[in-house]
């Protein structure tokens, strides 16, 4: 293993350890001491790779959410092409896929819940590398029901906010409603977001 690989391995071990701990006890209640202990590296090493706890958090959310996000979009796009799905149905499909992935990765949900704002900013920031592609796809989907690209991005923002806050408790605690119980209403709202009829009186 090269020096460069060893460095990466250490950083990844720190990220994994933090992932575990931040997810289960929250960022604020997790001491750097615990992270390095779980990662099996020295305390000083932490500061070699991260400015502080919150720097690590940001990097982690980025890495972890990218994978899941891209995969869900990949699946949704394939379905869209295979079955000529509408934008609304594609978004629902994407949502469904996302919920499925999140359901089996409670640690990530826990993280997102505690850090929704950073996550939202991330998705919206078109310039950002890692989430750029799937986010762009989503904007395009919402453009089908919006007058301008800017309006589409606003809808996307609302969609992401809704998704984030609705799902976290459902997945983590199942209270007050389970994900399955909320799906009909949630999908209905999403579909309505794509409806073009006037709602003003």
């Amino acid at each position: 293993m090269s020096v460069e690989e060893k460095k990466l391995a250490k950083k990844l071990r720190l990220l994994d350890a933090a992932y575990e701990l931040f997810g289960s006890k929250g960022v604020n209640l997790t001491a750097i001491d615990e992270v390095v202990r779980l990662a099996g590296v020295a305390k000083g090493t932490f500061y070699l790779y991260f400015k502080d706890k919150y720097d690590l958090l940001d990097q982690m959310i980025l890495i972890k959410s990218e994978r899941i996000f891209a995969a869900a979009m990949e699946t949704a796009q394939q379905k869209r092409e295979a079955f000529s799905l509408s934008a609304a149905d594609t978004t629902v499909s994407f949502t469904e896929e996302l919920l499925r992935s999140l359901s089996v990765d409670r640690a990530l949900v826990s993280l997102l819940q505690r850090n929704l704002p950073s996550f939202q900013a991330l998705v919206l920031a078109g310039e950002n590398g890692v989430l750029k592609a799937p986010a762009e796809r989503l904007v395009e989907l919402f453009e089908t029901c919006a007058e301008t690209r800017e309006d589409a991005k606003k809808m996307l923002y609302i969609y992401i906010s809704l998704l984030g806050s609705v799902c976290c408790d459902s997945i983590l605690t199942g209270a007050p409603y389970s994900v399955e119980a909320l799906k009909p209403q949630l999908f209905s709202v999403i579909r309505h977001m794509f409806s073009k009829e006037p709602t003003e009186p």
Copy 2:
């Protein structure tokens, strides 16, 4: 002033001081020392009324949100009666009123942001005293577009989640969008939530 009144006054002073500080610097960065200093009471007095910082936080959110919530509902109901508003329009009106109040009370928004889950649970818990009345009104509004009362509560849950997460950043940072910028889309989504047309293909 009776002893009981003095006790209440002291507790309120602590709540007010914490409100101020939690809102401006966040709960985690606020030391109990600061709270009691601002409140002008002894440190021990804090522990006479609250188990810890988070106990105070819970009580505060309850108190503060009740006021703003009840007021918004009051206004919305008056408009509904005066102008025979539909359920959708009443909900929009309630939303508008709530956003207006929150816009001028950034400290509360800051609090809600950091504690959305507790707040959501609170609204949904019909048994809870303080938020019972306005929450019941909202359920009734959503019943006009839901098959069952249970479905209405789910829609309410989605609505509250949406509102909470959409607004917090908008109000606090104005980024990525200001409240005003998001209103058209937000209200549109809310109105669509009341639409009865099928959205399934």
Copy 3:
């Protein structure tokens, strides 16, 4: 109930509560707050009857140990007269009786254990009212094997020390030896204390 009786009742309630708590968690780890709460009196009332925690402790040990001490001596004396027991046998009998009482009052043992010094001082202080009579009897018993009264008191001191420290753990934890397991050796030592043969080479 007269005023005077009410006052006494309060003091006794405090003593009983402290008895319970001191015995189970030790004096140092028991807060006055807990004592008054358990006693059901106001915090200020405590200071009406006791200077501080340790004042209460002293009074309590006195009261509690007097009863048990006097009773054991009473029994031992009766046996002595009935069966013309020797001083050694009377002391063994007294010891046996004491161990029996203590075995069923673990709270008191716990107290004595944590406060042996005060207790020893108490027994030896011939001037003290409550323990005077039984202590005097013990001195007399030891005088049968000592040259002077002063020597007898020293033997008594050794006896009390031995008894106190040997028994506490035995009764409370049964470790490393149970009271029953230690009795043969303990009684043997006590009997030897009364033996007059020279032990010097």
Copy 4:
């Protein structure tokens, strides 16, 4: 000085400082603050080496008592061999030596007094490393007057209890009797413990 040596030095400085303070004012009245100030280390360093005050206390008693215990046994054994002392005389010699050491180390006495039970357990626990050798010697001494090894250990237990509780007050306060004043009776009791004559009527 190596890192490991420095660590040990720091831990010893803490132990020494605590020894000084615990001995003069008691464990409960000594704040960790004082310990670290006297030791000349930072507060955090304390928690690097000890869980809390009582953890330090336990470690300290072990270390301090081992030294004094082993030394007294060493001396007693030498005398035994030199003068062909009997088991009883060797034990008296050991006792004398121990009392002498303790008389000039009041801090340790103070400690033992407050923690006799832990100390007794320690001596009896044959498996324990540090006190194993001298304790084994004592058991052997008592075996000369006991039927079984188990009986010998019981006698040892009684002997240790007696010694501990008799001496503490004598050494520390000189009241009600000084060590010198008690020695005749104490030694007599010890010698009687080794006498084999029947004491039962």
